[in-house]
């Protein structure tokens, strides 16, 4: 038997009573022969025998007095090792407290349904968003003015080098390729809300958020409302249409100031507005 085998069977040797023998007689003889011949294993067996006998002879000692535990606890608290728990205030019991049960996820469904219903109610009864009209910088021209005010006069270079304004009689329409290029540029651009160049910027300008009515328009609608309230809606819609046409044409003229035909259309648009005013005034007088 080797030292490792001795260590393996050593617990069996120690657990049995002194007078008991090994279950296996052959192993016992080999065990005893090796222990006698091996000093290390002999010392190991002797130490373990001593411990085992002392453990059997150990007498249960008495528990320490309670004051010992109190003193130990005080010393630990003084050192901050242990802290007393903070007492929570007692909640008033509105309902008889029932034995605490495990929280169930089943109640999530009706709660979620109630929240969804409440959200749907709020959304469906949300007041209509107020349309915010922007103050657009283009000048609101009174209908009595037939000449567009934002059209810059043409500048023609004189032989002396200084520019002089050109009168309307000398207006020449732009070169076809220039006009075509301008219109092609306006026409061929794709229409996307996030692009800066819509396909038709004039139409986009007309359909953009309508600016607030001019003072004249407001006065006009106010008079119509007072004297002929039943037709106010009709006049207002027509006025909006005419103003949209004016904006559209004005935007085009701003981009193409040399286009005489466009300027004529702008004048026609203002005349439309004047016509609207005339029809209304004739009717409500």
């Amino acid at each position: 038997m080797t030292c490792s085998e001795v260590e393996r069977v050593l617990p069996e040797f120690l657990d049995r009573a002194p007078d008991d023998s090994f279950p296996d007689a052959v192993h016992q003889a080999e065990f005893e022969t090796h222990v006698k011949s091996c000093l290390a294993c002999a010392d190991l067996v002797a130490d373990l025998k001593l411990i085992s006998s002392a453990a059997r002879q150990m007498v249960e000692s008495e528990e320490p007095a309670p004051r010992v535990w109190v003193r130990i606890a005080a010393e630990l608290r003084a050192e901050g090792i242990i802290r007393d728990p903070v007492p929570t205030p007692a909640r008033p019991a509105l309902v008889p407290t029932a034995p605490r049960r495990r929280w169930s996820a089943v109640w999530l469904a009706p709660v979620a349904a109630a929240l969804l219903a409440a959200g749907a109610y709020v959304v469906s009864h949300k007041p209509a968003a107020q349309v915010v009209t922007q103050q657009v910088s283009p000048v609101q021209v009174s209908p009595v003015q037939v000449a567009p005010v934002q059209v810059a006069p043409l500048q023609e270079a004189t032989p002396g080098g200084a520019a002089s304004p050109v009168t309307g009689a000398n207006v020449v329409t732009p070169a076809p390729e220039t006009a075509h290029a301008q219109r092609s540029e306006a026409r061929n651009s794709s229409v996307r809300p996030n692009q800066t160049k819509p396909a038709n910027p004039e139409v986009a300008a007309a359909h953009a958020v309508a600016p607030s009515p001019s003072v004249e328009d407001q006065q006009f609608l106010s008079v119509v409302s007072t004297l002929a309230p039943s037709v106010r809606a009709t006049y207002e819609s027509q006025l909006q249409a005419v103003n949209a046409d004016i904006r559209e044409t004005q935007a085009y003229v701003n981009r193409n100031p040399r286009d005489a035909d466009a300027r004529q259309h702008l004048m026609d648009a203002y005349q439309e507005k004047a016509l609207l005013y005339q029809i209304a005034m004739d009717r409500i007088q």
Binding site: A179, A241, T249, D268, A269, D282
Partner: protein, 295 residues
């Protein structure tokens, strides 16, 4: 149990019948009352040559046809007692107007007029709702309405002035006229309309012309967004000029090219002559389409 059920059903049927009878009686009474409130009035005025007749009504139709040469007959149908007819004659001038009383609305304030006037009388019609009809006349016509449908048929040798906001305008068989039509958004349709000047402007409405642009006249059709379409016979004789700033322009038959100081941009304008160029036709639009077709 069954007999009780039958009794209940019979009682329900009786109740239903009674309710239905009461409702029908009420409706009949209301209709009768309404009919009863409708009033028909006739006015006669003796006039001389070149009479001037004006009819002004906020709500109601006006129909004018030729009558005798020295008399104006006006038949007014008042829809309720909330409106009355004011009529006045000063020499050769006759003025008829609807006077709305308190409580009059578009229904109650409606007055329909039917007139028989001398064929050469000058006629002025105003109605917000319309419709307005004038036919077989030879005097100057001025028709104005907000949303009124305007219809002018078989008039000649006269000035025709029409203005509407949104009401459509139809001119049929108007010969040798001086025509000025303006509408903000109403469509204008012309069939066999000729004259020394035919000027039609519509902001958003369409202009449709079916004729020969005859009489050696000056024809000017202008829209802002509305389309312009002209259908002409093969023997049309006119100078054509068409231009749309943004819209498309086309002609479906060949035109003889014409020298002009204005540049012609294919697809945006055309300039040419057909026949002997007796008349001048100018078709202009800001963004509408212009099309010249041959019948």
């Amino acid at each position: 149990m069954a007999s009780l059920l039958k009794a209940n059903l019979r009682q329900a049927d009786r109740q239903t019948a009674v309710v239905t009878l009461v409702l029908a009686t009420c409706l009949a009474s209301a209709a009768f009352a309404e009919t009863k409130a409708e009033t028909r009035k006739e006015y006669r005025f003796t006039v001389g040559r070149n009479a001037i007749i004006s009819v002004d009504t906020q709500f109601g139709a006006i129909s004018v046809k030729p009558g005798s040469a020295d008399e104006v007959v006006v038949v007014a149908t008042l829809k309720s007692n909330n409106v009355e007819v004011d009529q006045e004659q000063t020499g050769n001038r006759v003025e008829i107007a609807s006077h709305l009383l308190e409580g009059a609305d578009q229904q109650a304030g409606r007055v329909d007029y039917e007139l028989l006037i001398p064929p050469d009388a000058t006629l002025n019609l105003h109605s917000s709702s319309g419709p307005l009809l004038a036919e077989h006349l030879q005097g100057d016509l001025t028709l104005e309405g907000a949303d009124a449908v305007v219809n002018i048929r078989n008039v000649q040798n006269c000035h025709v002035h029409v203005r509407t906001m949104g009401g459509p305008i139809t001119l049929t068989d108007v010969a040798n006229g001086h025509i000025e039509v303006a509408s903000i958004s109403g469509d204008v349709r012309m069939k066999s309309v000729t004259g020394t000047l035919v000027q039609v402007v519509s902001g958003r409405g369409k202009i449709f012309y079916d004729g020969d642009f005859g009489s050696g006249g000056d024809y000017r059709f202008t829209t802002h967004t509305g389309d312009i379409e002209a259908i002409v016979p093969a023997d049309v004789s006119a100078d054509f000029r068409a231009h749309s700033v943004i819209g498309r322009v086309r002609h479906d038959f060949p035109l003889q090219p014409q020298h002009s100081r204005f540049p012609v941009e294919a697809g945006r304008s055309f300039l040419g002559t057909s026949g002997k160029a007796s008349s001048k036709v100018v078709l202009r639009s800001f963004s509408g389409k212009i099309r010249l077709k041959q019948r």
